[in-house]
């Protein structure tokens, strides 16, 4: 018996080996796609409403299409699902006329109702769209997406009643419309005016504690928020009804269906980049039938999903490969040249480079810094790499709530004591541009105001004036950065420059990403690294970050005049005047210097020389639908323009 057991071992081992080889090979060798590229981390979701990152951007752009669609070269919004649009004279009303041949991948038409459904879903706080602020330019959209926190007595509201907790989670409950009479807090006290505003702004608020008194058709009713499970298993208190959520009445949000192929949007303010935003992936439509049949997130499964873009997914292997194939129902299918595209989920940029250099992929969007230098120095110059400046800025935040950073002279001295040329030329070496402004150069009609350049003598004088001659008495300054090789090297370089030029004591502290974000938000630092990527090509995407108390301000700095200018720019209909207001605002920012701008990022794409339709642009956006392959390389390659 024992001997038998023992002699079984080699057999078991053999079987295990055969099984694992079989498993490893069972996915088989696929025929290669027309175009294969490295897309970075696995995309979070295929649902346009709930994603935010760059890999997701590339994926959603291939699968869905919005009302407008960006020109692959200039990024100017062009007709997408909308074939034309009218804008009212006050720039507040946009009417979109949808093309009649726009279809979903199941063959059904894309209509105005789909867009309104998707916009509402995007704004619904239950969808939990982190990017929902991208649609807040629509009148009352912000209020709608604030849910019960945002409504005030006197508003028209819609009460969504609870549904069966075991039902499909994406179907809305029955709606009861009415007028909000009052809101009572946990203790039953009516919340009014300032009390209400303060209570609603409290991040820790439990909306279930509030009672909403609403005048409905049935008279004055009292509603309390409850999730579906607790509504199903508990009885509401005497005289109350449970509600899934209470929102501003959708009829008061500035969007409506005019007819099946016409949509009208009312905006809060004239928004010069509104058309651009409509071509940005969070605002892309989803199909109501698909979402409500399968529920969320199951509707994004490859076998369920219905999309309206140039491609549709064929299979998705987590953290491996997603293949998309041409969508035969796409209205502009004749101009989509690629029949299949593979998105590789490769996280390491070194691995990506290896794959590119061995010819396994046609495009990588990032090259490790060390390799980039070598690749750029190659002679003769390579014909597949061409870094250009991007709409991204690398800067340091100064925490002005801490001494001595509350003194503008100290902030200026720190900025003037930095040699940015050393940083970009000897250190980064991919053609990054030193910058003295928050807004990157290259936005049409806007020349960013500059903060003072390097001047060590003046920096020392300012520091002495602030009470720290030769750095004496200056508390040890700490640079916070998130764990990353490049950020670490930069922090060390800046540390040395500050030590040598100002005589101050400096140390560095690194934190991994989640802790870093939380430290930054709680102002738990002296000086902290930050990078900012423009959401749209307009100075406002950088500047509105630093209004007093702004969620992304993270410096504690605020200036009434600055806030006024940003607010004035938001309602200014004249584009030139608007840019002028923004310019004035940035002048204040660069004079006060709660931040120290360092440099603008450059793109690091490597693209096979036979790929056409790939253009360099400031947002590093390259729609796959525009790509085609010129096997003989007979046409000029616009990607390489400008590289000597």
């Amino acid at each position: 018996m024992r001997l038998e057991g023992r002699s079984l071992f080699p057999w078991i081992a053999g079987a295990a080996i055969l099984c694992s080889i079989g498993w490893a090979l069972n996915r088989g060798q696929l025929p290669p796609a027309d175009f294969t590229f490295v897309n970075g981390t696995e995309v979070k979701s295929l649902d346009p409403a709930i994603v935010t990152g760059q890999p997701e951007n590339r994926m959603i752009n291939a699968l869905f299409e919005g009302l407008t669609s960006w020109n692959p070269e200039t990024l100017v919004p062009e007709p997408g699902v909308a074939e034309r649009w009218d804008v009212s004279d006050d720039l507040l009303t946009y009417t979109f006329h949808l093309r009649k041949d726009a279809k979903w991948s199941d063959g059904s038409p894309v209509t105005a109702h789909d867009f309104i459904y998707s916009m509402r879903r995007f704004l619904d706080p239950r969808t939990a769209a982190e990017y929902s602020y991208q649609a807040w330019y629509v009148k009352n959209a912000k209020k709608y997406s604030g849910g019960g926190r945002a409504v005030r007595p006197g508003d028209n509201v819609e009460v969504e009643l609870n549904v069966d907790p075991d039902g499909v989670n994406s179907i809305r409950g029955k709606l009861v419309r009415g007028k909000l009479v009052s809101i009572e807090d946990k203790a039953g006290k009516e919340l009014t005016d300032d009390n209400l505003i303060r209570a609603a702004a409290d991040a820790a608020l439990n909306i279930e504690d509030w009672t909403f008194v609403i005048a409905t058709e049935a008279g004055e009713e009292r509603f309390r928020n409850a999730d579906d499970a607790s509504a199903a298993s508990n009885e509401p208190a005497e005289g109350e009804r449970f509600a899934r959520q209470i929102l501003l009445d959708l009829h008061d949000v500035g969007m409506r269906v005019v007819d099946d192929h016409t949509i009208e949007f009312q905006l809060e303010n004239p928004t010069p980049y509104f058309l651009t935003l409509l071509g940005f992936y969070p605002l892309f439509p989803v199909q109501q039938k698909c979402v409500e049949t399968f529920g969320s997130p199951q509707w994004t499964d490859v076998e369920n999903i219905v999309c309206n873009g140039p491609f549709k997914p064929e299979f998705r292997r987590l953290r491996d490969r997603t293949r998309v194939v041409k969508n035969e129902h796409y209205w502009n299918r004749d101009n989509v040249k690629l029949n299949s595209v593979d998105f590789l989920a490769v996280e390491s940029s070194t691995t990506a480079l290896n794959l590119y250099l061995t010819g396994e992929v046609d495009w990588i969007y990032d090259v490790p810094a060390a390799a980039l230098r070598t690749l750029l120095a190659e002679q003769p110059p390579r014909d597949d790499i061409n870094p250009v400046p991007l709409l991204n800025t690398y800067f340091y935040l100064l925490n002005v709530t801490r001494k001595p950073f509350d003194d503008v002279r100290v902030r200026k001295a720190l900025s003037m004591a930095i040699d940015r040329e050393e940083l970009t030329e000897e250190f980064l070496g991919a053609g990054e541009i030193p910058t003295y402004s928050l807004v990157p150069p290259g936005l049409p009609g806007y020349a960013p105001p500059q903060c003072p350049q390097e001047n060590v003598v003046e920096a020392r004088r300012l520091l002495a004036e602030a009470g720290f001659p030769g750095g004496r008495g200056f508390p040890t300054l700490e640079i916070l950065y998130n764990t990353h090789e490049q950020h670490q090297s930069i922090a060390q370089l800046i540390r040395d420059q500050w030590r040598n030029n100002l005589g101050v004591k400096v140390r560095t502290r690194n934190e991994e990403w989640a802790t870093f974000n939380s430290s930054q938000r709680q102002l738990n630092f002296d000086v902290s690294r930050r990078g900012w990527i423009g959401d749209y090509a307009d100075p406002n995407t950088f500047l509105d970050m630093f209004v007093s108390g702004g969620e992304n301000n993270c410096t504690g700095w605020g200036d009434a005049e600055y806030d006024k200018l940003i607010a004035a720019a938001a309602v200014e209909p004249d584009p030139a005047k608007r840019l002028d207001l923004l310019h004035q605002a940035e002048t204040i920012l660069m004079d006060e210097q709660p931040i120290i701008p360092f440099y603008n990022y450059v793109s690091k794409n490597m693209v096979k020389p036979n790929i056409r339709g790939f253009y360099n642009n400031i947002q590093d956006t390259h729609p796959l639908s525009a790509l085609w392959i010129d096997a003989e390389e007979e046409t000029p390659n616009p990607f390489m323009e400008g590289r000597e």
Partner: protein, 306 residues
């Protein structure tokens, strides 16, 4: 025997519960949560995100709900970061890949390690022994990513034999299996050599030789069988580690296994996914140790299970 298995199962449950509790406390006590972003998220939206994962409830209630879901329903929950997938699905996709690669790496490690260990012991003091010992020391000392880097340079760029990364063909398996298995092979070789030398110095070996048994037979039958126990006890936990994937090797060779999640899910504060992989590792490790104990009884008739 039944008693032994029953007792082990009971302790497995206790261990899983303890690991669950400690991970739960650790995850929630580090700063930053799964929905903290660089760009601020509107409060009502963050609240709804948290509500979806019960994070809006008091910690003790969360603990109860999680415990119930994991241990009663075997449902590890929904990923917080890959919003389209459940943790069970992620593990179903990744574990077979990590395991397949791990088994190949282990096969290489054991066969190569035992072979070189035996050769080195049998030829103790010879230049071959010294060479193999040097190689084994290097194999243990060199981290995975260095070995992988050298292998890629050698076999992908200088002698273009193998693909740089990916998963799905036999040629894509060679480098990662080698790099993953190399340190284990070195360790196995060292252990085999030591215990083989120990076994060969025993009296019964001399007796066997005196009886006229051939040198090969003495080494391979009388020596090897008695020197395998330390190797087996090393293999238990090693197999658990190798089956659940390796961060470095999977990242360098772009392999869609589970290894990456062990680190990444913790960094991203993906509470559900990190809990899932930690519990999985506990289960596999416990099972492997259990199998090792069982195999002792087979390999060494003197051992009794209790």
């Amino acid at each position: 025997m039944i008693n032994f298995i029953g007792k082990r199962l009971f302790w497995l449950l206790i261990t899983m519960w303890a690991v669950f509790t400690v991970s739960f406390i650790l995850m929630r006590s580090v700063p930053g949560g799964p929905f903290d972003r660089e760009k601020a998220v509107a409060p009502e939206i963050k609240r709804n995100l948290e509500r979806r994962y019960n994070l809006d409830k008091p910690v003790l209630v969360q603990y109860g709900l999680e415990l119930q879901r994991v241990f009663l329903h075997g449902d590890l929950g929904h990923c917080m970061n890959i919003a389209d997938a459940s943790v069970n699905y992620v593990i179903r996709q990744g574990l077979p890949i990590s395991a397949a690669l791990g088994i190949l790496a282990m096969t290489f490690a054991v066969s190569f390690g035992v072979l070189t260990g035996v050769v080195a012991a049998a030829m103790r003091g010879s230049p071959l022994d010294i060479g193999l010992r040097l190689a084994a020391t290097a194999g243990i000392a060199l981290p995975n990513f260095v070995v992988a880097g050298i292998c890629i340079l050698l076999f992908v760029f200088w002698i273009p034999l193998l693909p740089a990364a990916g998963w799905g063909s036999l040629s894509q398996l060679v480098l990662p299996a080698f790099c993953l298995g190399a340190p284990y092979a070195a360790e196995v070789a060292r252990i085999t050599r030591t215990s083989m030398l120990d076994a060969l110095s025993h009296d019964y070996i001399r007796t066997a030789r005196a009886k006229g048994v051939s040198r090969t037979r003495v080494v391979l039958v009388h020596g090897l069988r008695n020197s395998l126990l330390p190797v087996v006890s090393f293999l238990g936990p090693a197999v658990a580690g190798i089956l659940t994937g390796s961060l470095i090797v999977e990242q360098i060779f772009g392999i869609p296994g589970l290894g990456v999640y062990f680190v990444k899910s913790a960094l991203q504060r993906d509470y559900t996914l990190s809990m899932g992989v930690v519990l999985l590792y506990t289960l596999v490790l416990y099972t492997m140790n259990f199998l090792v104990d069982l195999s002792y009884a087979y390999l060494d008739p003197r051992v009794e299970l209790e």
